[in-house]
């Protein structure tokens, strides 16, 4: 080649110089586990569905969500959202309103009639689900989507279990519950109502079921012995809440005392208030901070005019009068009697002291283990009797709707594996994307959208839903507050900040790739990644 004057070499590109050889540490893209997903008892992939919601693609978001949980509209109302308790955004400003976005997606799905994808092929196997509560419905849904035949038998007159007969309407409107149950049944799940299973083995044999999932819940209200005069009106909270679904509403009178400190006690007191009680008093033997009820529910109850009497036990009930003993906490935090008594006027007493499981269907089943009134299960959700699985409130657990839904999913996966003669191996959990893995500089400040609350005064005598929903604009805003912890959201930071142009952008949805020919391993990408999706690992030199 002929060169100009004084030039002896061709000019070449620095691309010939592979600077990747300088590297001692190598960046790699990782997916870390977002704390919300980690905390979700139903195993939802929250970060993934928010990712779709952020771009306004609510239908995809809903489909990703319902892969794990078939009832987002119910969840968006009754879940105690442990996800939000774990949300990293709390350390920037406030947690992302995951629960409110979930509800928005659930409501959109009902409004727009989105359907589940039916199973691709039938397995030919049949599974009996006993109980149409949250865990039974969840198990039925997951088993059906895999392709198994599913029949649910429920003792009650309608499906829903505690979602219908335990959770008051003002928290969960029944048309929402009905719509989400119907969508599950539409997948081809058979539902038999008023069909109490008395003998599980016989029912399985008669229906030619290959496996069974028991989820009968805990519907028997615990009674504590309280001496009562013949005219005293004493009932339990479960009965009270269940009778709200019937034609005749219970008559409680103007002054109602609820005994207990859990969420059911709060529900009972708020229901009593709505039934016309001018005074609803919760009597609890310990203090507010030791109450098992969620604090926001206590707060809402107080706003509605519910009164609380701490450090008190009920000793006896006579017509219109309760005798209460004052308690004091010992150094271990247990309430001890003081011997001081007082009286409290009350026309009725509602006991909210916990619930027991009706285990009569299990009589005579060999291998079953029952301890403390609940059925024991192994790590695969199987009871001591091969082929019979159990979940929800009837097994040892924290008794919430979300935990029950999670049990249903987990049991379905294990039942499927068992039916196929294999063991279900859950996917390996990624490393947690804790706040120290994030670079919070890149997130703009944006406070949480507060859902509209009905005025406290209006709530006292109506069963109208108390919490409103988000509309499209603020749902989008809320979804976009997600930090996408541990998972690339294609912000282009790594692609931008690399001084060596060694990050290759693969286009929308395809994320990025490192060009290790030129990456010098400076770790600017990993440091400036907002969401902690890049990890530096030592090179083998």
């Amino acid at each position: 080649m002929k060169h100009p004057f004084a030039v002896t070499l061709d000019s070449g590109s620095s691309l010939a110089n592979l600077t990747g050889s300088w590297r001692t540490m190598r960046p790699v893209y990782v997916d870390r586990l977002p704390p919300c997903n980690h905390a979700c008892p139903a195993g939802e992939n929250i970060q993934a569905w928010l990712y779709h919601a952020e771009s306004g693609d609510y239908e995809s978001a809903w489909h990703v969500l319902t892969k794990d949980n078939p009832m987002p509209a119910v969840m968006g109302r009754v879940c105690y959202h442990p996800c939000e308790g774990a949300c990293n955004r709390a350390q920037v400003d406030e947690t992302v309103g995951i629960n409110s976005v979930e509800r928005f997606l659930g409501d959109e799905a009902i409004k727009r009639n989105w359907r589940f994808t039916p199973p691709e092929a039938e397995s030919g196997k049949r599974v009996l689900v006993v109980g149409a509560g949250p865990s039974g419905l969840s198990a039925a849904y997951h088993l059906r989507r895999i392709g198994h035949g599913v029949a649910i038998h429920d003792a009650g007159p309608a499906a829903g279990g505690m979602m219908r007969f335990g959770i008051p309407k003002y928290r969960l409107p029944r048309e929402v519950l009905d719509a989400e149950i119907k969508r599950i049944l539409d997948l081809g799940v058979e539902l038999k109502l008023n069909a109490k299973v008395d003998n599980i083995l016989e029912t399985m044999k008669a229906g030619r079921f290959n496996a069974a999932f028991l989820a009968v819940g805990a519907h028997i209200g615990k009674r504590s012995y309280i001496p009562a005069g013949s005219a005293a009106k004493v009932l339990d909270a479960v009965t009270l809440l269940r009778s709200m679904e019937g034609e005749d509403k219970p008559l409680l009178g103007r002054r109602v005392v609820v005994y207990g400190g859990g969420n059911t006690a709060i529900d009972a007191a708020r229901t009593a208030r709505r039934l016309g009680a001018t005074e609803a008093i919760i009597v609890y033997r310990r203090t507010r901070d030791r109450m098992p009820a969620h604090d926001f529910e206590v707060e809402e109850a107080l706003e509605e005019g519910i009164m609380m009497k701490w450090l008190s036990t009920i000793k006896r009930m006579d017509e219109g009068v309760l005798t209460v003993e004052k308690m004091q906490l010992d150094e271990k935090g247990f309430p001890q009697p003081t011997g001081e008594f007082e009286t409290l006027e009350a026309e009725s007493l509602v006991l909210a002291l916990g619930q027991d499981v009706d285990l009569s269907l299990l009589d005579g089943v060999p291998g079953l283990q029952i301890k403390d009134g609940v059925v024991q299960i192994d790590a695969n959700m199987m009871t001591g009797h091969t082929g019979i699985f159990a979940g929800g409130d009837m097994v040892p657990s924290e008794r919430t709707v979300t935990v029950a839904v999670g049990h249903g999913k987990k049991a379905a996966l294990h039942i499927d594996a068992w039916l196929c003669g294999a063991a279900h191996a859950p996917a390996e959990k990624h490393e947690l994307a804790s706040f120290d893995k994030l670079n919070s500089w890149y997130y703009a400040d944006a406070p949480k959208t507060v859902r509209p609350m009905l005025e406290g005064v209006r709530r006292q005598n109506t069963f109208e839903e108390i919490q409103g929903g988000l509309d499209e604009t603020n749902a989008l805003y809320e979804a976009r507050r997600c930090l996408s912890c541990g998972n690339c959201f294609e912000c282009d930071n790594c692609y931008g900040v690399c001084p060596d142009n060694a990050v290759i952008k693969l286009g929308p949805g395809n994320r990025f790739r490192f060009n290790y020919d030129y990456c010098k391993g400076c770790a600017l990408c990993a440091t400036e990644c907002p969401c902690g999706a890049i990890k530096m690992v030592p090179e083998s030199i």
Binding site: Y495, L524, T527
Partner: protein, 343 residues
């Protein structure tokens, strides 16, 4: 063709998006609203294989600025480079990392050569081809200062970009007139009663440029890409002499971790030590407000060249003098006052 200044202004403010406002890109907005660096088609004016150190701020700043200028001019751009790191690490003969027409003459004459390039293009009847001169702080504040001041006072149609890493780095970290007080360099060792560079010396070139009354002067950092790109694009929309001073951390010369380059640039701004502002025709028109205020120590501590400030009581006193400089900047450039409404 859309107005690059308006587009740049649009990418600057995306308050609706809770994330992406500060990140390089944002999948939720249209391509036109994203930064140049987010584009899959960016010029990569400074491409792979260059021999800059790991985490080089100057390599990053140069690609940010040149890619933005390439977009603003539709690729009609010639760059003239002063001697310095940027020239040495990109063009060890016969290799080049530049994917744009690029010229190097002497250490001190980049501004004059660029003036010549602009004149030549005018004479050739190709005024759409624009000239940029670029150099480090040595080639700008010391050795090329005369040529630069001449280019300013004649109002030649050149954008001069200074990548300020506060010293002569590729020759072994010697002091320049842009080296901050107390910084340790090879020529200002951290020994004696006044360790490091002394107080009361050096030049503030952005302010000197403002004093020339030229159409546009701005400062920027590699920590705020959107701001940097907007300023380069704005500058390319103006004819006459323009000057942009970009703060580029140097892991080698500053004794900082290579992964801290962007963080340090951010802390320089947030502490008030490096004010980011714009001036037109001799008057300061805007400044970038501090978002999360920090004491100067937070910026200085990760740099070994300031290690002696954190050793004894005398160090603390010098640290307080540096804080006073930052405080003065905060007052002078209104860095903590609320953002004025654009109008």
């Amino acid at each position: 063709m859309t107005d690059p200044t308006a587009t740049a202004a649009a990418t600057q403010k995306l308050p609706f998006y809770q994330k992406g406002t500060f990140t390089v890109g944002n999948r939720l907005v249209s391509d036109g609203e994203r930064s140049v660096q987010a584009s899959i088609d960016r010029s990569n004016a400074l491409t792979c294989g260059h021999r800059a150190c790991q985490g080089c701020g100057e390599a990053l700043g140069a690609r940010y600025a040149m890619d933005a200028a390439m977009r603003a001019t539709g690729g009609n751009l010639i760059a003239v480079n002063a001697t310095g790191c940027l020239e040495v690490f990109t063009t060890p003969y016969p290799e080049t990392s530049w994917q744009i027409p690029w010229l190097h003459s002497l250490f001190g004459n980049a501004a004059a050569v660029a003036t010549g390039v602009a004149a030549a293009m005018r004479v050739k009847g190709r005024p759409e081809v624009r000239a940029i001169a670029q150099g480090g702080d040595g080639g700008t504040t010391d050795i090329g200062f005369g040529c630069l001041s001449g280019m300013f006072e004649r109002n030649d149609d050149v954008l001069y970009i200074c990548y300020d890493n506060e010293g002569y780095m590729n020759t072994g970290v010697q002091r320049s007139s842009a080296t901050p007080p107390t910084a340790r360099t090879a020529t200002t060792p951290a020994i004696g009663p006044e360790p490091g560079n002394v107080f009361g010396t050096g030049k503030n070139l952005p302010k000197i440029a403002v004093a020339h009354g030229i159409p546009y002067v701005a400062t920027a950092t590699v920590a705020d890409l959107h701001d940097l790109e907007r300023k380069v694009m704005k500058a390319m929309g103006i004819h006459g002499a323009r000057y942009i001073h970009i703060h580029v951390p140097c892991p080698l010369g500053w004794g900082s971790a290579s992964h801290d380059t962007v963080r340090l640039a951010r802390l320089a701004v947030e502490s008030g030590l490096f004010p980011v502002f714009e001036a037109e025709y001799g008057i300061v028109t805007s400044s970038r407000k501090i978002r999360r205020p920090v004491p100067v120590a937070e910026y200085l501590k990760p740099q070994r060249r300031f290690a002696h400030l954190f050793k004894d009581a005398a160090g603390s006193q010098r640290l307080a003098r540096l804080q006073a400089i930052a405080d003065r900047n905060i007052t002078e450039f209104k860095l903590l006052e609320p953002e004025e409404e654009a109008g």
